[in-house]
Symmetry: C2
DNA sequence: CTGGCGCATTGACCCAGATCAAGAATTGCG
DNA sequence: CGCAATTCTTGATCTGGGTCAATGCGCCAG
């Protein structure tokens, strides 16, 4: 784990984490946030915190992917959160991390020291209001995910995950060039299995099946092409009217 | 659905929903909440709102149990939230309900009209801070639940649900008379199945198995006695160190 | 008391996905 | 470039929980 320093200009070029923390911040509040923030980067596979560890920062994902997961003693693990760029990590007002947090790919976090951040929250109501909005969105995502875990078939699970990632990808890049989306899968088969409550073999088989049926195309093992997003959407088993943006 | 009126005194006798909404309210804020609140009661099985319906109130559960659930077109349904007394229902800042909400047992809600409630949130920061705390707790519960749905066996699922209800029950009554807890199951076998991502037959079989193995005792079909909570805890598959309070 | 209705239990059978076991394809590194 | 370590794919087999179907148990109405 290495500390990185971004100068002020560079920070200006990654507005994501400020927008994430506070969509309505005034200049002087941004200044205040700048004073308590620092960047940190992790390599793929590196743990960030273990469940129960003291966590003295909150953070916003700048680049890369991180996962939150819960493990049982016998090794079964379930991913319970997937953090993509602009997502918020950490929990104001709580000392210990409730989950294992791992960098899934190379990752850069924009961290804010927790205590001063909490004090700022008390003073500036729209920061906590913004955080409330984000948390409610996360709760919606978690509930969508519960439907996936509890009631969908393996094929529907895979299709749902691909659709979620594709939508996220599209919303960040804003390059929804018609249909024909494509993206790099940020997860290994094993991570996908942990996300979906499956085994990695089943994930692999179902991806092969979707490929065989022409729902997706693979370039290499990680690059996914979705020729017809509506077709993928049907495979998810969800109502056709779109569902929640995650 | 019938409107009920509670007089001010009776309202004073059910402090739950005020505490739930705002642990730190001052007298005049409570006054203000009183002005926009009304009680509403529902019978077991009655729908409260359907997914997509406009929802012009937020509420706090006074008595009874309600469920949030998501349904797929083909009838598969997954419960994604279980609201017990003191829990909060609704979502400031969102017009349409994202889930079906149903009264599982006879239910009384303490409702607040949404618009004035939202305005109050903007003015009194600790209301939104309290709501943020509650939402973060709900998110923790949802994530605990994701582990249950994704990775636990049917027996562990049932044990987990019983432990969750027993803990909730105990925390409200504050009558943890040593071990030997007992409580009335507020859910039908079908509702338990929807909670756990199982079928009602499997729920029934696993309850019978836990009874046969002496982990629980049944009096009638709904009254559960837990002679040894630690034993039940072991059956959940969780770490022994307690886990999250839900 | 009796029939009907809504839950709950139990049994018999089956299948989607887990498990176990080889390999194949990539990736990385000396 | 070659060898090892990862990561992924595919096959064979097994099994937990789903499905279908019958039966039991209260409970209320007549």
């Amino acid at each position: 784990m290495s500390d990185m320093t971004f100068d002020h200009k560079e920070c200006g070029s990654c507005p994501i984490r400020h927008r994430a923390v506070c969509a309505r911040c005034e200049a002087d509040e941004l200044e205040e946030l700048d004073a308590i923030k620092y960047y940190r980067s992790y390599e793929a596979g590196q743990p960030i915190v273990w469940s129960g560890d003291r966590m003295d920062f909150v953070a916003s994902v700048v680049t890369g992917v991180a996962s939150l997961s819960q493990a049982m003693e016998d090794g079964r693990t379930q991913m319970v959160g997937l953090l993509l760029p602009s997502d918020f990590l950490g929990r104001p007002g709580r000392d210990a991390a409730p989950y294992d947090v791992v960098a899934v790919s190379n990752l850069t976090l924009c961290c804010f020291r927790r205590k001063p951040f909490e004090q700022m929250m008390l003073r500036t109501p729209h920061v906590s209001q913004r955080l409330l909005e984000m948390t409610l969105d996360e709760l919606d995502a978690a509930r969508e995910w519960m439907l996936i875990l509890g009631r969908k078939t393996a094929r529907e699970k895979i299709a749902s995950l691909l659709a979620i990632i594709a939508r996220r990808e599209a919303s960040l890049e804003l390059t929804t060039a018609g249909d024909g989306m494509d993206f790099e899968l940020p997860l290994t088969r094993e991570a996908m299995a942990d996300y979906l409550g499956l085994t990695l073999e089943t994930v692999s088989r179902q991806i092969s099946a979707l490929k065989r049926d022409g729902v997706i195309t693979l370039e290499g093992k990680r690059k996914v092409v979705i020729p017809d997003f509506d077709r993928l959407q049907i495979e998810t088993g969800d109502d056709t009217d779109g569902g929640l943006m995650i």
